[in-house]
């Protein structure tokens, strides 16, 4: 089984547009949306949920008021400033470490499991999809990403598939690390802007750190051709293959408004053709 993650560093470069198109082009792939705090892939692939799982990713301290003597030890030892002046727990700050439970002299504090989101297994027209939704403001998105990837793995075995296509979150932190560890290929989607270049370099460093083979895609390459040349030069120097250069085309947004991938919406467009080309190149790597 092979796994490919589409990532970007910088947000909004076109990860989801490209992953969804790949999902349509790949004959037999399981799709995993690992952007669990702002998942968008379902708006193009329209999955029907088959199974929902509660995600218990972390714990929360709970203070039993009847036992609390307000000594303040918990507040003193908590490194996350999660115990308020009037001895309640600030759920946004609590990381569920349990230090308060062991320092409390009256055993007034316990850790309770919190439901931090849901994971879903779904069916789209011709494939299965694993996705999730982190409850707004919750932590531990990395763990939820791991759960989505496990679900995707089970699906590939059941469905006799040999490929998992992962839509990654922006950034380079914990959910991104959870999305790239152990995959075969990371496709970094960038744009020819100063930020795009800066973030591309960090995303490529991340792939190197985790021994993932990199590919690069320059989206909206004609918005700034000088910067596109810089990206191409940078990649050439390091022996990184640029799998595709996608032109800016307002039809991509139009396709999104219509809930379709550009491959389905305008298969003959320059964008659709370039994405198909890029898919071929990546497949030949496997």
């Amino acid at each position: 089984m092979k796994q490919i993650t589409v990532l970007s560093g910088k947000g909004g470069t076109g990860k989801t547009t490209i992953t969804a198109s790949f999902a349509v082009l790949a004959k037999n792939a399981v799709v995993a949306d690992c952007d669990v705090d702002a998942p968008d892939l379902h708006m193009l692939l329209h999955p029907k949920i088959v199974k929902t799982q509660e995600f218990k990713g972390s714990k929360l301290a709970t203070i039993d008021e009847s036992k609390c003597v307000k000594c303040g030890l918990c507040r003193e030892k908590c490194r996350f400033d999660a115990i308020t002046e009037n001895f309640s727990v600030d759920s946004f700050s609590c990381e569920g470490c349990g230090v308060c439970t062991i320092v409390c002299p009256t055993n007034a504090i316990t850790l309770t499991e919190r439901i931090s989101g849901h994971a879903y297994i779904s069916k789209t027209r011709n494939r299965f999809m694993a996705h999730a939704m982190l409850s707004p403001g919750e932590a531990n998105s990395g763990k939820l990403v791991t759960l989505v990837r496990q679900n995707a793995k089970v699906l590939t075995e059941k469905e006799d598939s040999d490929l998992i296509m992962i839509d990654g979150p922006p950034g380079i932190g914990c959910p991104v690390i959870a999305s790239v560890t152990g995959v075969d290929v990371g496709l970094v989607v960038t744009e020819p802007t100063m930020s795009g270049i800066h973030d591309l370099k960090r995303a490529l460093q991340l792939l190197k750190h985790f021994n993932v083979s990199p590919f690069v895609c320059v989206n909206m390459y004609n918005v700034n051709r000088d910067n596109t040349r810089k990206i191409l030069g940078f990649c050439r120097e390091r022996g990184i293959e640029v799998a595709g250069r996608i032109p800016f085309n307002p039809k991509v947004t139009e396709a999104m408004v219509n809930g379709k991938t550009i491959i389905e919406y305008l298969p003959e467009s320059d964008v659709a053709k370039e994405i198909a080309n890029m898919w071929k190149k990546i497949c030949s790597f496997f």
């Binding site: 702002a38 968008d40 982190l134 403001g137 914990c174 973030d199 960090r202 947004t253």
Partner: protein, 278 residues
């Protein structure tokens, strides 16, 4: 007054709004809290005055004192310590630095060591103060670096916080304590979907908010319908213009080349202040 700029969806123009607004008002400090991918400095080209490492405490086990009882490993909620009869393994990337292991160890064999997870940079561009952090590549936890950036908030100035995308812990850490939050979105289905999630988070945190619609003219009208329905004020629209996109791509804040926008960003800030009542 502290105003944070957030979005839900990535790439909607948070940094652009934060930088252009910062350049349009006086006595201002900009804190780039997107420590995974900080970009504000790429538009501001600031002079860096100080660079500091960001450390977090992680456990260090004195093997001479350790009797491998395993209590630390059992206590750790993050699986950052593994104890076998022969060995203790520490995984610093998993550690949340709660210090619990040092408290539960009956032999007092655990102390704490410094582990570098990022860099803090203090800089300025003319009168504008810029503070930003950079998470080390391969380190998962952005929150401690964001906390370090926010320690430099100067309350005597107008403070603008540039948030990372999404709605999970790094975003919460950034917007916590803000007087107002500006959500930057684009009028597309993805923009709307992620805007709704971000609004939920801010409502839960009781932070007043307004919306800036970037790339107005593309997509559809549903973002506006949603804002009207929810009574969320649309504070500014930035049209999709090739010139704005090109300026951004070369690292130039568009209000510097299109001065008519300065007044609009000033009004945006004044409007935020009016809505907060400061």
């Amino acid at each position: 007054m502290i105003v944070s700029i957030a979005s839900g969806k990535g790439g909607t123009g948070k940094t652009s709004v934060a930088v252009n607004m910062a350049l349009s008002i006086r006595n201002v400090q900009l804190l780039d809290c997107d420590v995974e991918e900080p970009n504000a400095h790429l538009l501001l080209h600031p002079k860096i005055s100080r660079i500091e490492p960001v450390y977090v405490p992680v456990p260090f086990v004195n093997e001479k004192l350790c009797d491998h009882c395993g209590k630390c490993s059992k206590f750790c909620q993050y699986n950052a310590i593994f104890v076998s009869p022969e060995k203790v393994l520490i995984f610093p990337e998993l550690c949340h630095s709660c210090g619990g292991c040092t408290l539960v160890c009956p032999k007092k064999a655990i102390t704490e060591d410094k582990h570098k997870i990022g860099t803090l940079k203090l800089a300025s561009a003319d009168d504008l103060g810029l503070v930003y952090g950079e998470l080390e590549v391969g380190e998962p936890m952005a929150v401690p670096v964001i906390k370090e950036v926010k320690k430099h908030i100067d309350n005597s100035r107008n403070v603008i916080l540039d948030s990372p995308p999404g709605t999970s812990c790094p975003v919460i850490e950034t917007v916590k304590g803000s007087d107002f939050c500006i959500l930057v979105t684009e009028p597309t289905p993805f923009g709307l979907h992620d805007l709704k999630i971000a609004v939920q988070v801010l409502e839960y945190m009781k932070i007043p908010l307004g919306v800036v619609v970037n790339r107005a003219g593309i997509g559809d009208k549903k973002v506006y319908e949603y804002c009207e329905d929810k009574d969320v004020p649309v504070l500014l629209e930035i049209p999709y213009q090739r010139r704005i996109a090109e300026l951004y791509s070369t690292g130039v804040p568009f209000s510097s080349e299109m001065p008519e926008w300065r007044e609009k960003f000033q009004t945006l800030f004044d409007e935020a202040r009016r809505l907060v009542g400061k």
